[in-house]
């Protein structure tokens, strides 16, 4: 049987302030743009599985027609991640162009600041280890308290 994802990784982006490649194993492809998507980023719509970006574009076009945008309910005590329309609503509201790392030239209908990485993205750098793995708990705690003190002093 043919693997629809061609053994690929998810091409969706995650983040808000910074957008990064999702990097999870893809389980499907978007029926509109053929981009591989992981289980978390697959949205099943009337056209079949779509990626969040295509889903949002669809929703936005529909809401432009009936002008009835749904606001995310932040009051709900839920673990559900923010829906993609919210991410774009934040960008629109505060006129923000997120910093994108990883594969570039990905989004077509929005301005992103893509900082081309000349070499491969550092996977074992501080980014990958931030807050993970064994660490000197007390040392980290002290350093962070110092940072907070410096940060709050006027």
């Amino acid at each position: 049987m043919r693997d629809p994802t061609q053994g690929g990784i998810c091409h969706s982006k995650k983040g808000l302030l910074f957008l990064e490649d999702c990097g999870e194993l893809a389980v499907d492809t978007c029926s509109l743009c053929a981009r591989p998507v992981c289980a978390a980023h697959r949205v099943v719509g009337p056209e079949g599985p779509v990626c969040p970006e295509c889903y949002y574009r669809d929703q936005r076009d529909a809401s432009d027609e009936d002008d009835d945008t749904e606001e995310d309910d932040l009051d709900a005590d839920t673990d559900a991640p923010l829906s993609y329309p919210d991410r774009d609503q934040y960008y629109d509201k505060y006129d923000y162009q997120p910093v994108v790392t990883g594969s570039s030239h990905y989004f077509s209908d929005r301005d992103y600041r893509t900082f081309e990485e000349t070499t491969e993205a550092p996977t074992k750098g501080p980014a990958a280890t931030a807050g993970e793995g064994p660490e000197d708990e007390e040392g980290a705690d002290r350093e962070e308290r110092d940072d907070l003190d410096h940060f709050l002093e006027s």
Binding site: K14, G15, L16, L17, F18, E20, L74, D75, D77, T78, D79, P81, L82, D86, R87, Y90, K93, Y94, Y96, Q97, P98, V99, T101, F115, E117, T118, P122, G125, P126, A127, A128, A130, G131, E132, E137, A140, D141, E143, E144, R145, D147, L148, H150, F151, L152
Partner: protein
Amino acid sequence: MPRTNQAIKPRAPSPAARSILQLKRIYGRRPLNEWRALLAEVAAIDRTSEPLVGPARRKIFGFLFLAAVFAVAATFFIYVAVLSVVSAGMAGFYLVRWWRLRSTDVSNDFRNVLLKFLRIMAEDIPAKGRISMLVDVSGPTKQKLIAEKQLPPGRCKKIVEKVYSDPWCHMQAPLSNGSRMLLGIENRYTVQQRTWTNLRGKTKAKTKWKKLVKVTVGLIPDPERLCFDRDRVARRSGQENLRLMQKPRGEICRLTRKFKFKDRQLPEASVSPEELVGMFFVLGSLLKPSRRS
């Protein structure tokens, strides 16, 4: 048939949540999901118990009034004294209930601001990254009183002003791209109690609350990848309270904004979580790739 009220009986609070409700503060380093679960638990308890405080208080006074009425009636019909005793007992029951509800009542900013903000920022915070956080949910207590003075009374008889400083949230969190974010929120409450005498010689009093929410956000970019664009920071500093600082662990850019709220009672309103996100976007927009990358 099973009784339905057994099914909806609330679970006992976890030890950590109980500790927050008792001590009214918490400091620790935990992963995001643990913080969110813990704060959501405290928020749920607070949301259920908060609306019960007012009715419990009204019932104390209601039953005390009834007890007094029955006590007077008992001078005519002695057996009514039983009703007076029962009413006094009910007043005592609601007093204990009110006191217990009051002792676990917490300030609402943590659930209106922090909890919602954490949900939005969950997009950028790695699941295993540990967040250092100090949250104080006690609100403007006596310990936080920093100034108390009598103002020139003017047309009033007396004006007493009290100022409380409540730095209720400090947090530092790693972001998935190796940068780190910092957040500090301080509420400054100013309460004025005015007393005056009206034309009929009756003494009147009025209270006014002002709440000034000072939000400071900071970003420490991963120097391997990003740094602040000094020209852009300098340009933006003209319009905002923005500061770029060199610290042993890298450069920090800090942005401070203030938000004001007024009410006749302790203002419930606060800065919106979206506004905090907007402040981080300001810092994010000042970044450029570092020369090292």
